[in-house]
């Protein structure tokens, strides 16, 4: 799931021109689950903006199934026609899709999109995947070193691993390679950790414009 968090209110307000007709649009998928941009957050942000010093002509709120999907974007056509500014509470994909679809409108982001991750416990989300395009979870016991190791190392823990923690934040951050080591040990697969992993092919990662998938078998 995509994890995002709301931008500081001051930053959101700074970007909205005074006396606008504002439409705040939530997204019912990932950002609803991570409590950053769903229906509830739309309502809260509407109140916050209405109570701020910045005067708006009107503030409307709504939420759609997925802002990353054209099909759902069309649903709010009428409401969009009556606003000057769309404040999107979706992830970066949703904001861009909204901008493309309603390209005559100013679309502003209300969230910072952070990562692909998991909800570990109430109020705690953790990055799990970088989308590197070259998955190596088969050799690391299902724990991603590129994401979980602060340096993205591929050949085992550096010298900064102590007490199972990473030197980057010894209080809160697990050493990714310590997790991998323990998992592989449990699986009796430490031999995979002993093998030298060659330099990665970063061309599969975000490295030259947006990555695309084109499947001939599915093209109309």
């Amino acid at each position: 799931m995509i994890i995002a968090e709301q931008k500081p209110v001051n930053e959101i307000l700074k970007n909205i021109p005074e006396n606008s007709r504002l439409l705040i649009v939530g997204c019912d998928t990932c950002v609803t689950v991570c409590l950053a941009g769903g229906e509830k957050e739309v309502a809260v942000l509407s109140s916050v903006i209405s109570m701020s010093d910045k005067k708006m002509k009107s503030i409307e709120g709504t939420s759609i199934e997925r802002q990353c999907d054209k099909e759902f974007l069309s649903e709010i056509k009428d409401r969009v026609s009556e606003c000057d500014i769309i404040l999107s509470m979706a992830c970066g994909v949703g904001v861009q899709m909204m901008s493309d679809y309603y390209n005559g409108k100013i679309v502003l982001p209300a969230l910072n999109t952070l990562f692909m991750g998991s909800n570990e416990e109430t109020g705690y989300w953790l990055e799990r995947c970088l989308g590197c395009g070259d998955c190596s979870l088969d050799i690391t016991g299902g724990i991603c070193p590129k994401t979980r190791c602060s340096k993205g190392l591929m050949n085992g823990p550096c010298g900064g691993s102590e007490g199972g923690k990473c030197e980057v934040d010894p209080e809160n951050l697990d050493c990714g390679w310590n997790l991998i080591y323990n998992r592989l040990k449990e699986l009796n697969r430490l031999d995979t950790m002993a093998a030298i992993q060659p330099p990665r092919d970063w061309s599969k990662s975000h490295d030259g414009g947006p990555r695309r998938i084109i499947r001939e078998d599915l093209l109309l």
């Binding site: 340096k151 823990p157 691993s161 923690k165 050493c175 080591y181």
Partner: protein
């Protein structure tokens, strides 16, 4: 073409000498008076000096540039190459450049995370890690190829012209998982290191355990192992190292020993000398690497009291 020119450090190891190196942090500005002083303090006292590479992620004069400077002053450099600030293109280019100027001792490191330093907002590179770096340097030297497999020559018609390196790495016997640490060394050896310098050692028991496993696996025969030493300068420093530096363990017995004395500096050096003497007796240790942080004045006394002066000559 053959560019092989063995460094003094390599030749000393080959002669079976107990090699002594020291750390020399390049300065942050063009005011080299500090470096000149350190060069004076270490000349004739150690066999080579490590020029750190933006150590602890603080921008400084580059390792190779400082290495050339100390070389002109008659000291042999060990340049450090960390993966944090350069991708494989920059690393290979810099290494060829170092070799062009006669620098062949290279210590291959992953590098401290940028959050440790003074540019925490910098983007780290880590295109490759230290083990991959070691392998790249070895292939440049032994196979005459770049990382992509291209041969190191100017054109198809010209001669293969591989650079020459004496390849080093670091090892931390105290980091965790402890039981993986010898395997990590083995991996570096397999990748191609000729020598390693360890993290600074205070916990002699734990180091002894690590070293025993190293010897049991015969790894000391495949790479020269240099024990790392940082003399304790003050109680505050010892406690700081114990509490705040990941991968450094300072046993309570060492802290207590320093608490008991009036002159911690003197005791710190005494302890370091005892350590060096023990390392000289330990099977598998081929030298020491002294990291006297901003305390280069102490090095000569330590080396002398350990019975390691004068330094041997090589032809």
């Amino acid at each position: 073409m053959k560019t092989e020119k063995k460094s003094r450090m390599q030749r000393l190891f080959e002669k079976g000498e107990f090699v002594v190196t020291a750390e020399l942090g390049p300065p942050k500005s063009l005011d080299f008076s500090v470096l000149d002083r350190k060069i004076d303090l270490l000349s004739g006292v150690v066999d080579a000096v490590n020029l750190t590479d933006n150590q602890t992620a603080i921008a400084r004069i580059s390792s190779i540039a400082a290495g050339l400077y100390v070389m002109k002053a008659g000291l042999e450099p060990v340049i450090q190459m960390a993966c944090r600030d350069r991708n494989r293109l920059a690393i290979q280019a810099d290494l060829l450049g170092a070799c062009l100027h006669g620098i062949t001792n290279v210590l291959c490191l992953t590098g401290d995370h940028q959050c440790m330093g003074n540019h925490p907002g910098a983007k780290h590179v880590f295109d490759i890690d230290s083990i991959q770096l070691i392998q790249i340097v070895k292939n440049m030297r032994d196979k005459g190829v770049f990382q992509n497999g291209d041969e190191i020559r100017n054109s198809k018609k010209s001669d293969l012209f591989p650079p020459y390196f004496f390849i080093g790495g670091a090892a931390n016997p105290f980091a965790e998982p402890f039981e993986w640490r010898v395997s990590r060394l083995e991996k570096k050896i397999e990748a191609g290191i000729d020598f390693i310098q360890t993290q600074c050692i205070y916990d002699m028991d734990r180091f002894g355990q690590w070293m025993k496993e190293v010897v049991d696996r015969g790894l000391h025969k495949k790479a020269k192992i240099m024990a790392g030493i940082t003399p304790i300068k003050s109680l505050g420093m010892a406690r700081y190292m114990r509490d705040n530096v990941a991968g450094v363990t300072v046993p309570d017995s060492v802290i207590q020993r320093m608490e008991k004395v009036e002159n911690v500096k003197e005791e710190g050096i005494k302890f370091a000398v005892e350590q060096i003497r023990q390392f000289r007796e330990m099977e598998g240790i081929a030298g020491v690497h002294i990291m006297a942080i901003e305390w280069e004045d102490a090095v000569k006394g330590m080396v002398e009291s350990s019975g390691l002066l004068p330094r041997p000559k090589v032809s």
